[in-house]
């Protein structure tokens, strides 16, 4: 792939094409764990929603429009429990508040992108793609083509997995063969390890982990991620400034 890039620099049009292609290839490689993880999880979601009586086309539409795994699972269980639509929407809002922090953290790195493409970027910003983008930014390896490729593959796999689950729900007994369900936790482990750039980052991670577990057990399951992240990042700033004095 690199040699192609060098050969094609003769004309600028070819050069643009080859950087486009290498960006897409790069994004594709980085999205592999998302592909491995999202198709089975999307499948599980499709099966679960169907078994709970949600119409198939609505299930697929939800994956396409909402594109938020955990809140979709919660929404299906709330539908099954005959909760009101308002309850479902408010719960979704609370569960997805954490994306506010992700969007704020990534915002300074998207300043060169035009507003219309920011609209798409925001629509597809999820936990997994955020973690990959931040790791790329740290290594000065961030590009719009590559990032949008990761986002679109994730979106496509989530919708496709859901569709397969809706169609194949009658076939399924066990949805966890071969350890596919562990691809995403394992990806979070390595992306977290990459984010630990100093002792203070490690301290922040420990504080957030402890806070998340504590809040979860205290009953704040829906809010634990955003609250724990705020507590962790704030503790990091406070401790860092105390140490400087």
């Amino acid at each position: 792939m690199q040699s192609e890039v060098i050969e094609n620099t003769a004309t600028s049009e070819n050069y643009e094409k080859s950087t486009l292609r290498s960006g897409i290839m790069d994004g594709f490689k980085q999205a592999i764990p998302i592909i491995v993880g999202f198709i089975p999880v999307g499948f599980t979601f499709g099966v679960l929603a169907t078994k709970n009586g949600l119409p198939g086309h609505m299930t697929v539409l939800m994956s396409f429009l909402v594109f938020a795994g955990s809140s979709q699972f919660i929404a299906v269980s709330l539908f099954a429990a005959s909760m009101s639509p308002i309850t479902i929407i408010i719960t979704t809002f609370i569960v997805n508040l954490r994306h506010f922090l992700m969007s704020a953290a990534i915002a300074p790195h998207l300043s060169k992108i035009p507003m219309s493409r920011k609209l798409l970027f925001g629509f597809q910003l999820i936990d997994e793609s955020f973690a990959i983008h931040m790791a790329n930014i740290d290594r000065n390896n961030f590009g719009e083509t590559q990032a949008v490729t990761v986002n679109c593959i994730a979106h496509f796999c989530w919708v496709t997995g859901t569709l397969l689950g809706v169609c194949g729900s009658h076939l399924v007994a066990d949805i966890r063969p071969l350890g596919f369900d562990y691809a995403l936790p394992a990806m979070f482990v390595v992306l977290l390890v990459w984010q630990i750039k100093s002792n203070m980052h490690a301290i922040v991670a420990f504080i957030s982990a402890g806070a998340a577990i504590g809040l979860y057990l205290a009953g704040a399951e829906q809010l634990c991620v955003i609250l724990a992240a705020i507590i962790g990042a704030t503790a990091g700033v406070v401790l860092c400034n105390i140490r400087k004095k």
Partner: protein
């Protein structure tokens, strides 16, 4: 399920709106602003904090309770995964390790 198609559709559209707003607003409003140093510092801790907060409950909470027992496969499988991640920093090596360890563990349990 007691809902009509229209109610389900409206609920999905509502979910889309409340999911999109937090994802978009900061990107749309903040990306051309210069933050004060303390905000930049705070945001620099956000990725580590949020990844850790996402990961910790999935590892330490098993069937609704805090668990350090060997029934909690996700937690103990994460030990070799963390070791590989810290030693090699390898993206794929870490993920493959995780999948092999958890699949192997399940295989041993079935035996």
């Amino acid at each position: 399920m007691q809902y009509s198609q229209e109610v389900i559709l409206m609920t999905i559209v509502g979910m889309m709106v409340v999911t999109y707003i937090p994802r978009l607003l900061p990107i749309a409003l903040l990306s051309n602003k210069q933050f004060p140093a303390i905000v930049t510092q705070w945001l620099s801790y956000v990725p580590a904090a949020i990844l850790s907060a996402l990961l910790a409950p999935s590892l330490f909470i098993h069937e609704g309770n805090f668990s350090l027992s060997f029934d909690n496969m996700y937690l103990w499988s994460s030990l070799p995964v963390f070791i590989v991640a810290i030693r090699t920093k390898s993206f794929f090596g870490t993920i493959v390790t995780g999948m092999i360890v958890i699949a192997g563990w399940r295989y041993v349990l079935v035996m």
